[in-house]
C-alpha cells in the first residue's frame, strides 16, 4: 500500500492517512477481510506518529471501513462498494462545482468543460 | 552494595600489600628487631594512616578524573551503597592492621608497661585513622576532591611540625612525657571508646552519603 502525505494538502494528517486507506479500499487495492498493517508498523513505515495512525484507524472504524479484533489486528470491512462510489461521486461533484466557479471568472463556461470531458473520453477510447 | 565492595577491593588490597612489603623491608633494615619495627609503626602512625588514607586518595582521584560518580549516578545504586562499601573496606583494613599488631603484642614477651603502651598506641592510631578517613570523605563530597587535597596536604605539612615543636619545648621532660603518655594510655577504657568510635564512624558514613547525593 502506497501512502504519501503531502505537505501541500491542508487536511489534517490523520485525515490524509484515512483518506488514502479509504481510496485503497474503494479501488480494490485492499480487499475485504485483508489485514491492515498494525498501527505500530504503519507508524514506523510512514514515520508518522502513532497517535495520528491510531486516530486514522479509529475514524475508519467508526465509518465502518475497517474493523478491529483485539489481539489480532485491523481488517478491511466488507464495504458496500456502492456506498463508496456514492461518496466519491459526491466528492467529485463538489470539486466540479469549484472548477466551474473558477472557470466563470475566466469566461470558461460549463459547456466548455463538457466539451473538454468529451474530447478526453474520445481520446481514451481511441 | 556488594558490587561496589568488589569494585573498591583492589585499592585496599593493594595498599595492604604495600604495607606488608614496607614493614618487611623495615624489619630487614633494622635487622629483625620486631619491637623496634612495631614501635616505629605505632608512634609514626604514618603507616596506619597511610593505609587508611592512601586508598582514599587513590580511588577518589580516579573517580574525579573519570567523572566516575556521574557515571554511577545512572545506575541503580544508592549513595549508601557506594559510600558504605568504602567505609566497610577502611574499617576492615584498619581492624586487620590493629588486630594484627595486637596479636603480635599478645604473643610477645616484652615488659608489661611497654605492652600496655603499644596496645594503646595501636588502638589510638587505629581509631584516629578511621575517623580521619570518615571526615575526609565528608570533606571530599562537600568541597570536592581537588580542594580536599589542598586542605589535607596543608594540614599534614603543618602536622609535620608538631613533633618537632614538641621535641623542642619538651625535650628535657621526655621521660616525664613518656610516663604521662603511659599513664594516659593505660587509663583508657577501650570497651567504651571503641563502640563510640564505631558509632561516630557510622554516623559520618551516613552524613557523607547524604552530602554526596546532590
Amino acid at each position: 500500500m502506497f501512502i504519501v502525505v503531502s505537505p501541500l494538502n491542508p487536511d489534517p494528517l490523520y485525515k490524509q492517512v484515512a483518506d488514502q486507506i479509504k481510496d485503497a479500499i474503494a479501488s480494490g487495492q485492499l480487499k475485504p477481510e485483508e489485514k491492515l498493517p498494525s498501527i505500530r508498523e504503519m507508524s514506523a513505515d510512514l514515520k508518522i506518529s502513532i497517535i495520528t495512525i491510531k486516530r486514522a484507524y479509529s475514524d475508519l472504524e467508526n465509518e465502518n471501513y475497517i474493523y478491529t479484533r483485539p489481539g489480532m489486528g485491523s481488517f478491511v470491512a466488507d464495504i458496500n462498494r456502492e456506498k463508496l462510489r456514492a461518496e466519491k461521486l459526491e466528492e467529485f461533484t463538489q470539486e466540479i462545482k469549484k472548477l466551474l466557479k473558477t472557470g466563470e471568472k475566466f469566461g470558461i463556461t460549463a459547456d466548455n468543460v463538457i466539451r473538454i470531458v468529451k474530447d478526453i473520453k474520445e481520446k481514451n477510447n481511441g | 552494595m556488594l558490587l561496589m565492595i568488589k569494585k573498591y577491593s583492589h585499592y585496599f588490597l593493594y595498599s595492604t600489600f604495600v604495607f606488608v612489603l614496607l614493614s618487611a623491608l623495615l624489619l630487614v633494615l633494622i635487622h629483625g628487631s620486631l619491637q623496634t619495627v612495631i614501635f616505629a609503626v605505632l608512634t609514626c602512625g604514618i603507616f596506619i594512616y597511610f593505609n587508611a588514607l592512601g586508598p582514599v586518595f587513590g580511588s577518589e582521584q580516579y573517580e574525579e578524573k573519570n567523572k566516575g560518580y556521574e557515571f554511577l549516578k545512572i545506575l541503580p545504586l544508592r549513595e549508601l551503597d557506594i559510600v558504605g562499601a568504602k567505609f566497610l573496606w577502611v574499617l576492615l583494613v584498619d581492624a586487620v592492621f590493629v588486630g594484627g599488631i595486637l596479636l603480635v603484642l599478645s604473643k610477645s614477651t616484652w615488659p608489661e608497661k611497654q605492652l600496655v603502651l603499644f596496645r594503646s598506641l595501636a588502638l589510638i592510631n587505629g581509631s584516629i585513622s578511621l575517623l580521619l578517613v570518615a571526615f575526609s570523605y565528608v570533606f571530599i563530597f562537600w568541597i570536592g576532591y581537588t580542594k580536599y587535597v589542598i586542605v589535607v596536604l596543608s594540614v599534614l605539612v603543618a602536622m609535620g611540625f608538631v613533633p618537632m615543636i614538641i621535641m623542642k619545648f619538651f625535650i628535657e621532660d621526655i621521660d616525664q612525657m613518656l610516663l604521662d603518655t603511659y599513664n594516659f594510655t593505660a587509663g583508657l577504657n577501650w570497651f567504651f571508646i571503641l563502640p563510640v568510635v564505631f558509632l561516630v564512624y557510622v554516623g559520618l558514613l551516613f552524613i557523607a552519603a547524604k552530602i554526596k547525593k546532590y
Partner: protein
Amino acid sequence: MDKILELKNVTKKYRGFILDNVSLSLFPGFIIGIIGPNGAGKTTTIKIIMDMVKADKGNIQVFGKEHVKNIKEIKNRIGYVGEEQNFYMDKTVAWTGKFVSRFYNRWDTNMFENLISKFTISRSKKIKELSKGMKVKLSLALALSHDPELIILDEPTAGLDPVVRRELLELLRKIPENGDKSVIISSHITDDIARTADIVNFIIDGRIVLSAPKDDLLDQWKRIHYQEGALDPLMVKTLINRKEHILGNSGITDRFPRIKDSLAEGINEGKIRIENVTLDDILIAYVKER
C-alpha cells in the same frame, strides 16, 4: 493504562533560574519530546526525574511508585543517555558492559553484543579511544540492554555529525515498536523532536508552555500567504508573525482547522496559499510572545 511517569508541580530554584511548577505525564508506548531553548529547563527536568538533582517542591511518581524512596528499583527499569557520557576512560567497552550488567536484573548480553556490533564499536577498544558519537551509541547500547520500560535521552544528538545523528533518530523512533517501551527525548534541536516524537512539550524559561500531540500542532498551525485584501481584517489581526511585503503578506495561525472553510474561496481563487510550519516556527512564535 497506568502512567509510566508523572510529575506534579515540580519546582526547583537555582540562582537566576527557576523551574516553575512543571507537570508532565507519560503513558506507555509513546515518545515524548521536550523542546526548548538552551537553559530553558530541559536538562534540569530530566535530572530531577533521574534523581540527579533534587526538586524543591512537587510530587514525582515513576512506574506508579514514590520516586526517591524507590529510586534503585526505578533506575533498574530506566535506560538513560545523558548529554555527557562519562565512563572509566582506561577500561574497555567489554569491561564497561560487564560492569554495568551486574547492576541490572534483566540484562541481556546478546542484545548488548548485537547492539555493539551494529554500532561498529569494537569490544576491546578503550573508552578513551572512542569518538563522541561512539560514546553516545555505547550509552544507548547500555541503556537498551537491560530491557528498560522507559528510556530517557538528554540532548542525545549534541555534538554528532549529521550522518550519525540521523542513524540515532532512526533507532530511537523504532524503540516503542512493541508498545511496551516509552521514550523521553529532550533537545534544543527541534528537528530531532519533529522526526521522532508523538507528543511535544515546549519548555521556556522553566515553564511548560505547551503540551500536545505533535501532529495536532502541525495540523493547527499553518502559515497563510495572502494577497492584500484577500483576508478578513479581523482574521489578519489574529495572525502571528505577520510579514507584509509588496508581493504578498503572510502570517501564522494557530487555529487552522477552524478557519479553513472561510479560506476556501480565497484558496480557490489563488489569492490565498497555505504552507506547513515546522515545530521551530511554533516554538519561536511562543518565545516571541513572552
